[in-house]
């Protein structure tokens, strides 16, 4: 069977599975819709959290990012996993004991203030929309690559599927589809990685293969460690060795901290821990989540090293006519471009970009002397002649490893699963913030259970449409999702929730001023350094926009502390509430409302 047909079958079957699950687990009450009835097994919740967490970007782009950044990419690996330690110890168990539906719910109740609740709602909506637009775009891109439809058509197909199970099933539908989506995406990621590891090092586990010796195509062990080999290859090309960093240490430190605290503070992650039955389940569920996430996150660095070593070995100084078929097929798609600067008919790599930007090809489809597509970009000075898009690292793995066609089809299903699962989780958080925290808690407190469920479904439906619109017409800020989503979560939610649990004296005034300070500072810095004056030399202490959330968080802590001590202590019943979230007993009795 050809790849195209297999891909349709795999993706179609996975969609049928998700929709089937959605119908089987549709929500009957607001508790079902917001927190899946609160009865999800901790391991299942861990798996759903992992799918929720790992987006299209984690699936498609992360290994490529690591492959090109080397040690510098450690910030993502540590940052996006280390947050779960804080979640397990500092946030999840107490929020589960608190036993409400949403993050703004906790902020609003703990700080006895609808102003605080509204600030939280606005922040949830901004963070989640930034994030979800990228996911919808990601779905479109996966469709475009594998099914050869237009990106926008792909976005619309994604919208329809998410619409169906998020609107119908709510959190309950999402949870069990996410479990299925995790299984699809992890298989799709691991299978090619294992084959690649066997091919390059003879190790079945990519994690140990990464520390093993390189085995050449004929099967002879070179006796040289693969990381040393890659370092050497890069040095020959005049590129910083793979295992060395090129970023200032303070920036690495700040980005890691912002990603960790941001992870722990992201509403669509936190809310997953409201779905388990007990406090003890919330603790271990974070462990399950991290185990499932680590499967991908410890494999990705190995994939990066294997693929990059293989690409340099195969491509550098090889005549264009002798390139393997994957090189030409990705050139056809436009993710590879070659400009024969020295006219020797062979492809050279180098430290700089070969030409400016992504390859643009002659519109008449003309080919050069060796049969390559003619690149029209302005050349950059230097020896480098070839542009290889980072996304190829994962997408081309099955072809590079010579794997059967069904693996390629599986990759397509995996990419779509990663994008859909994250999008659904985010849309749910948006709809809950609107129907529960805005409508039920502020505009119309007399809303019936049925009315609230309808409001939640309508809000989810509207959110899907808005997210789809952003996916088709991505605004500039969407590309900065790492800076915005993690920076804002780290500087607003994370400190506000942490103080709400660990500092009994923290009051309404401190929380509101703290949140607004953290948000405004972080938001302004990112906007200024990304859009108004994108010049790294003006960064404070060399801190990039991705890491500034850490500084925003520090400001938040300091200002919240000062303001809270200068104003009145929180009322007696709030102090009792704080004491009650600190002990597990009684969580089962905590009711919805």
């Amino acid at each position: 069977m050809d790849v195209q047909l297999l891909t349709y079958i795999f993706v179609g079957a996975s969609f049928a599975l998700y929709i089937g699950i959605a119908i089987w687990s549709r929500a009957g009450s607001t508790k079902d819709f917001y927190v899946a009835g609160g009865g999800v097994h901790p391991a299942a919740n861990g798996m759903a959290t992992a799918a929720d967490w790992m987006s299209a970007a984690s699936f498609i782009s992360m290994a490529g990012l690591i492959a090109y950044l080397g040690y510098d990419a450690s910030v993502y690996l540590m940052g996006w996993t280390g947050g779960y330690v804080m979640l397990a110890m500092l946030l999840a168990p107490y929020l589960r004991k608190f036993g409400k539906f949403t993050v703004p719910d906790f902020i609003g109740d703990r700080y006895y203030s609808n102003v605080a609740r509204t600030v939280a709602v606005i922040c949830v909506i901004f963070v989640s929309f930034t994030y979800v637009a990228g996911q919808m775009r990601g779905t479109g891109i996966v469709f475009a690559r594998f099914l050869e439809v237009d990106v926008n058509v792909g976005v619309v197909i994604g919208m329809v599927i998410v619409f169906f199970y998020a609107v119908l099933g709510g959190m309950k539908g999402i949870t069990y589809t996410q479990v299925a989506q995790y299984c699809v995406l992890i298989t799709a990621f691991i299978v090619p990685a294992v084959f690649l590891s066997i091919m390059m090092t003879g190790h079945v586990l990519p994690q140990t293969g990464l520390g093993a010796t390189f085995v050449d195509a004929a099967g002879n062990d070179s006796g040289q460690y693969i990381l040393d080999r890659l370092d050497g290859l890069l040095e020959e090309l005049g590129i910083t060795p793979y295992t060395d960093g090129s970023q200032p240490m303070i920036n690495v430190f700040f980005i890691t901290a912002a990603l960790m605290c941001g992870t722990a503070g992201l509403p669509h992650v936190i809310v997953r821990f409201f779905t388990v039955p007990r406090v003890r389940d919330a603790r271990i569920s974070a462990g399950w989540a991290l185990i499932f996430i680590a499967l991908l996150y410890t494999t990705a660095p190995a994939v990066g090293v294997f693929a990059r070593t293989n690409i340099i070995d195969t491509v550098n100084n090889t005549a264009y006519e002798e390139m393997p078929s994957w090189f030409k097929s990705w050139e056809t798609v436009g993710l590879i471009g070659w400009l024969d600067k020295n006219g020797d008919g062979a492809v050279q790599m180098g430290p700089k970009a070969p030409f400016e930007g992504k390859p643009e090809f002659a519109e008449d489809g003309s080919v050069g002397e060796h049969g390559e597509r003619v690149v029209t970009n302005a050349p950059v000075e230097g020896d480098a002649e070839v542009y290889i898009d980072r996304d190829i690292i994962v997408l081309a793995n099955p072809e590079i490893g010579g794997l059967p066609a069904w693996v390629v089809a599986l990759m397509a299903a995996g990419g779509v699963a990663a994008a859909l699962s994250t999008a659904a989780g985010l849309l749910l958080v948006i709809s809950a913030a609107i129907s529960h925290d805005l409508i039920k808690k502020q505009i119309n407190p007399n809303l019936s259970e049925k009315g609230e469920l309808l409001a939640a479904r309508s809000a989810a439906a509207v959110a899907v449409v808005v997210a789809g619109y952003f996916g088709i017409n991505p605004p500039g800020f969407v590309a900065q999702v790492v800076a915005f989503a993690f920076g804002l979560a780290a500087s607003s939610f994370f400190p506000a929730i942490l103080l709400g649990i660990f500092d009994k004296r923290m009051n309404r005034e401190g929380a509101i001023v703290g949140m607004v300070t953290g948000l405004t500072f972080t938001f302004s810095y990112i906007v200024y350094t990304k859009f108004i004056n994108p010049d790294p030399s003006i960064w404070w202490f060399g801190i990039s926009p991705e890491g500034i959330g850490t500084l925003g968080m520090i400001f938040h802590f300091i200002i919240a502390y000062v303001v809270s001590r200068a104003t009145k202590a929180p009322p007696e019943e709030i102090q009792e509430l704080v004491e009650s979230v600190r002990v597990p007993r009684g969580a089962g009795e905590a009711t919805a409302h």
Partner: protein, 85 residues
């Protein structure tokens, strides 16, 4: 107000958390970032040790930490009789 035992429970919880977060900080920010150049002089199989902590070791340690914390707190919950029935 909390009785004495609940306060003692909370204190023990904080102590466990601080212990775990100390390890969390050392493996990631310590070994993976601040001391990475020093540790990179040491070989761990085919890895430079600092690099291994930054891209593999810290993640494994995080998992162990969460499991340890969950186990330890379950025992503390029962010791102080605040566990869920």
């Amino acid at each position: 107000m909390l009785d004495k035992s609940a306060q003692a429970y909370w204190k023990r919880n904080i102590r466990v958390i601080l212990g775990c977060l100390a390890v969390w900080f050392i493996v990631s920010y310590g070994f993976g970032i601040l001391l990475v150049d020093v540790l990179n002089n040491i070989r761990f199989f085919g890895f430079k040790l600092g690099f291994w902590f930054a891209q593999q070791g810290s993640i494994y340690t995080f998992i162990v930490l969460i499991i340890f914390y969950a186990w330890k707190m379950n025992r503390l919950d029962e010791e102080f009789d605040v566990h869920e029935q």
